[in-house]
């Protein structure tokens, strides 16, 4: 089992560039996986709701790919190479629009929490701190929009 650092240990010293790259690669994987899920969801919706839901999911796909690109550039600027090892399983089952939005919300909430998690770990690195905070603002908006669509 990996040893988990205490909160004190996390905040005592700024992260090394290797640690920052590792954290960014985690975010990169989150965004790539979210893009795959969005693409799948956009094509799995059946029924009349498809008309309204498909554009939302396609926009989600485009945005997550853009986020992945931004993170990849950030990794490059730190001298790293983006690296990911994801396993995504998307079942061949048709979905209602509501179910697809629910799944998208699960993915967006996970991405938002991942950014919060990374923010805690990279405190001390000002530029990365700013970048992650900006991403948190964007992801929070997505989560709010999806929750609004579900109206649950």
């Amino acid at each position: 089992m990996h040893r988990r650092e205490s909160d004190e240990e996390q905040s005592s010293a700024p992260p090394t560039s290797e640690e920052v790259i590792a954290e960014l690669n985690r975010l990169f994987a989150e965004e790539i996986e979210a893009a795959v899920r969005y693409l799948h969801l956009a094509n799995a919706v059946r029924g009349l709701e498809r008309l309204s839901v498909e554009p939302v999911l396609k926009a989600g796909f485009q945005e997550t790919i853009q986020h992945a690109e931004i993170i990849a550039r950030k990794i490059r600027s730190l001298g790293g190479v983006p690296q990911t090892d994801i396993q995504v399983s998307c079942p061949a089952e048709p979905l209602t629009g509501r179910d697809a939005i629910r799944q998208a919300l699960t993915v967006e909430e996970a991405a938002l929490e991942a950014y919060h998690d990374v923010l805690r770990r990279v405190s001390g690195d000002v530029s990365l701190d700013e970048f992650v905070r900006a991403q948190i603002a964007i992801e929070s908006e997505h989560v709010a929009e999806l929750r609004e669509l579900l109206a649950e």
Binding site: H2, R26, Q87, V88, T106, V107, E109, A110, A114
Partner: protein, 205 residues
């Protein structure tokens, strides 16, 4: 009638033993069609089992488990963990409190305890009885832990208890196993373990 079946019937009248073996083999493969489906009907997938075990480990070590902790421990994305946990919540195996801390339900804990016990049993069987290397046994036990039935696990317990009993027969068994030459000298026809071809050779291909 399938090609060759008439010849087999005729052979069965004169020598019933090969016929019995063929019948058993057919029964086995006929049963196997349903067995592989049973694999899919298993209560949880291999991945889901690891999520449950990870939650149990994290709670045991730190007193709590969050989605991010599970993701880091399993080295997968939070998105992936969230999707899997959603189905585990729906199955009533885990709960999440208001602080988003994960807990195993009573059924989830029972399942984890069973999987852990089966992993230990399979590992012990492989290392202590079969002599498999510890690291390889751990990997194989990990692959099988959630698939072994409780009935089979009980039989493994009986065997391990016997091995632990220090009965004279156990020492004899260990000595005999160590001294036994498992090669069939390229003659699978006369080998009790092999079928139409040498099983050991097919593993080394």
């Amino acid at each position: 009638m399938q090609p060759g079946a008439a010849a087999l019937h005729s052979q069965a009248r004169t020598n019933p033993e090969p016929w019995r073996i063929i019948q058993e083999e057919r029964n086995f493969w006929g049963r196997d069609v349903d067995v592989w489906k049973e694999f899919d009907h298993n209560i949880i997938t291999h991945s889901a089992a690891h999520h449950l075990m990870s939650i149990d480990d994290l709670i045991g070590t730190h007193g709590y488990a969050r989605v991010s902790d599970v993701a880091r421990e399993l080295n997968i994305t939070r998105g992936s963990v969230s999707i899997t946990l959603k189905s585990l919540k729906e199955a009533g195996l885990i709960n999440q409190d208001e602080n988003r801390h994960l807990r195993l339900s009573e059924a989830g804990q029972r399942l984890v305890d069973q999987i852990k016990a089966k992993r230990l049993l399979v590992k012990r069987l492989f290392t202590e009885v079969l002599g498999v290397d510890g690291a390889q046994a751990e990997i194989d036990a990990c692959k099988m832990e959630h698939l072994v039935s409780s009935e089979t696990a009980r039989h493994i317990i009986s065997l391990l208890k016997f091995i632990d009993s220090n009965a004279p027969a156990v020492a004899q068994f260990r000595d005999a196993l160590r001294a036994f030459d498992p090669s069939c000298a390229g003659q699978p026809q006369t080998c009790a373990a092999c079928e139409s071809s040498c099983l050991a050779e097919s593993l080394s291909k």
